[in-house]
Amino acid sequence: MKEDSLLEMRGIYKSFPGVKALQNVDFTLRKGEIHALMGENGAGKSTLIKVLTGVHVKDEGDISLQGKGKVNIHSPQDAQKNGISTVYQEITLCPNLSVAENIYIARGKGGLVSWRGMNKKAQKLLDSLGIAVKATQQLASCSIAVQQMVAIARAVDMDCSVLILDEPTSSLDESEVAKLFVLMRQLKERGVGIIFVTHFLDQVYEVCDRITVLRDGQLVGEYEIENLPRIQLVSKMLGKELDDMADIKGEAQPEIDKSSTPVYAAEGLSSSEGIGPYNFEIRAGEVNGFTGLLGSGRSESVRAIFGADKVTGGKVKIDGKDVKITKPRQAMAHGIAYLPEDRKRDGIVGDLSVRDNIILALQVKTGFFKPFSKAKATEFAEEYIKLLDIKTASVNTPIKSLSGGNQQKVILARWLLTHPKYLILDEPTRGIDIGTKTDIQKLVLKLASEGMCVTFISSETDEMLRTCSRLLVMRDRKLVGELTGDQLTQAAVMNTIAGGEKNAE
């Protein structure tokens, strides 16, 4: 082992039935280093982390830790004992317990607990890390960002030497990300080695020292951040030279005929989630987006369109004819499709196979007494597995065993299969690798050019700027602005969101 290496993984192999997840992968983490682990979906990042933390047992290879030599990690407890702590993308704490309880849970030495002592200790820890929350507060009442930081505090308190952060910033806004980075730098000073797994390029370049790139289960290389410009990083991840993504909208978008009947038009639409009333129209071939800060009501607006929440008022017209849309079934019957934001809760049917998940919506549309034959269903599924390049062992695999990004693709496939007139996508690219992100954006534009209307919501404004011809800006559950044509710039969006007050940008 090298002098300043905290962790060395050498020659790691791991496979699952039908999939070789890792082949001869090496990874090194140094003391006081923030090291990014990057790769597309299916590259093996998750698996490598799980092998390191004992969730999976490696088939071959060695893991060595500073001061301990070769170690065998067979369970999460082993990993913890060896000073490896993980904070996962989806918060794995107990929302019904308090912050202090969450920090100390399952670490008890002995049966009796002094609550006051625990709370005091917890508060000290939180203060030392600059996390502004009371130790006695219930975790569920804290924002996701704070919950994440509590998870990190727990890890830190356990005297970890290696801290793994798996997609910690997916649900955070800019200020929260900044706070997180402050915390990370603090830990770096203390000598903790941080493995930062993320999709966000900007963040990697802001806070990391080194990058390891994986592709298709194999190691591409380890680089120092100064020596690797972005474009090179992306091309290494994809294994090819990539066109400059910023110009994806190079082709002229066909002009939308403003006088044509809108495919969907709503007047005074409001829902029980506190949305509206608002007016909205979309025409064939148009791609529009809803943007705004987290919690501004973007998702709720489109849910009201689909009837996913209880609709409390408003008139809706499809192709000029009055219709009633208060339930998803009705929306589907009128050719509307909706890809939800929370794929785990609203999107996937976990135990069912990929095939069943893909045909579900179309099957419901077709009717109770007309089930597809297994052959037909498999045909549908395979068509879209090919089209969207979904990585799965077979059509029969339960969807819950797919990676997040592939799950997302399955849900997208489900709605595309229904050949909708109007497709609503809420965060379709969340958790998806860069290559597929681009593909999805291209797909959206292609569908629009074929006459479909698309509503696209994403927290990455530049994604929306690239694909949408019209942006609706929301603030505090109200529609506050509409941007088209030349107004479609980052600055204009920020200004409209902020609403007159100039934010330091």
Partner: protein
């Protein structure tokens, strides 16, 4: 999008597919019981064609007893599987519901007289009325679970408690007896057919269920609702209606099971008929490897689970286990089965078998 070169996965042989499927649990249990009996007393499996007191040739033997007595349980298992899958809970009122259904049939067939000399109404009418009544009670349970979001075991507790009293009230606390020969055919034997009729009725139910699952989306809908209700709703399904439907269908199963029960001895005693059958029905579903918390299910596995329980009961009777000790033996066997079928145990077993297989070729090579 470039599509990666995908190798076509090799076709898994049937036996491998079965071992991975949950149906292996009841199959293994049946094999174990059969093996046990084979070793203890091979005459257990003897089947004979004998003449019964009405002069008809019928089959008899322990195996026949099993498929005969297990009919009601197997039919109930059909409905209970759907209820469990969709609502993640169980209906514990089926025993009391059978009492009600049977009493309704007796009421229709006997009128106000306890011991009429002839049928007061055609058998088919009695069956239809009983079906409607059972399905109505099923809808009552289903409404409580689906619309009032009450936990299934709690909701069905109402009928569990009040059901037998309702059954008693239907016939004014009396125990009417049907005296019609054709009626008794359904619970015993139809002249000329050596196979017991309850088994034939069960077969018909299985076939109807299979057709229903093949020609409608019931399986997909129920599983979807059971696994993730929110997602199901966003895909256009109506989870409340689907849950309600499963309870109504269970009500239909109850009516058919009650029909068989009444027909066996042309009467029922509402306080003891089908006592504890709800526990056996739930057990059958669990023995079939279905998750009692809902979601994916295998109907055939549940049915096999029902016959496992009946097999066990008949085996214990044969060995003259005291009826008071019977539940204890049953519990031991069931615990053993449930533990062996637990995912952690199955994983360990498959790991062991992998190791064994690795050693074997190594030994061969050596």
């Amino acid at each position: 999008m470039p599509s990666k070169n995908k190798a076509v996965p090799p076709k898994t042989p049937l036996w491998a597919r079965i071992t991975k499927h949950q149906i292996i649990i009841p199959i293994a249990a049946l094999l174990a019981l059969a093996l046990f009996n084979l070793i203890a007393d091979p005459s257990f499996f003897r089947i004979e064609l004998k003449e019964n007191s009405a002069g008809n040739m019928i089959l008899s033997g322990n195996l026949i007893s099993i498929i005969d007595s297990g009919s009601e349980l197997a039919i109930l298992a059909l409905g209970m599987t759907l209820v469990t899958a969709a609502s993640g809970g169980q209906d514990i009122s089926v025993g009391a519901a059978i009492a009600i259904s049977g009493s309704v049939m007796l009421r229709v067939l006997c009128g106000n007289n306890s011991h009429p000399t002839s049928l007061q109404a055609p058998i088919i009418v009695a069956l239809l009325v009983a079906c409607l009544v059972s399905m109505a009670f099923g809808a009552f349970n289903g409404a409580l679970v689906a619309f009032f979001k009450i936990q299934p075991m709690v909701a069905t507790l109402i009928l569990f408690t009040a059901g037998r009293s309702i059954a008693a009230w239907i016939n004014n606390n009396e125990l009417p007896i049907v005296s019609d020969e054709t009626f008794s055919y359904f619970g015993n034997n139809i002249p000329g057919i050596p196979i017991p009729t309850p088994f034939l009725i069960a077969i018909v139910c299985f076939i109807v269920t299979w057709l229903f699952m093949k020609f409608t989306n019931i399986s997909l809908y129920v599983q979807s609702v059971g696994v993730n209700e929110k997602t199901s709703r966003l895909n256009g399904l109506n989870p409340e209606f689907i849950k309600l439907m499963t309870y109504v269908l269970l009500g239909l199963c109850v009516a058919i099971a009650a029909f068989i029960k009444v027909s066996r001895i042309s009467t029922i005693n509402y306080s003891v008929v089908a006592k504890d059958i709800e526990m056996d029905a739930i057990l059958a579903v669990a023995l079939g490897g279905n998750a009692l918390s809902g979601g994916k299910f295998s109907m055939s596995a549940s049915v096999l689970g029902a016959y496992v329980i009946q097999f066990l009961t008949t085996t214990l009777y044969k060995f003259e286990v005291k009826a008071t000790a019977l539940p204890a033996y049953k519990a031991v066997v069931v615990i053993a089965l449930v533990v062996l079928s637990a995912p952690t145990v199955r994983e360990k077993l498959s790991q062991l078998s992998k190791k064994f297989r690795k050693k074997a070729p190594a030994a061969k090579a050596a």
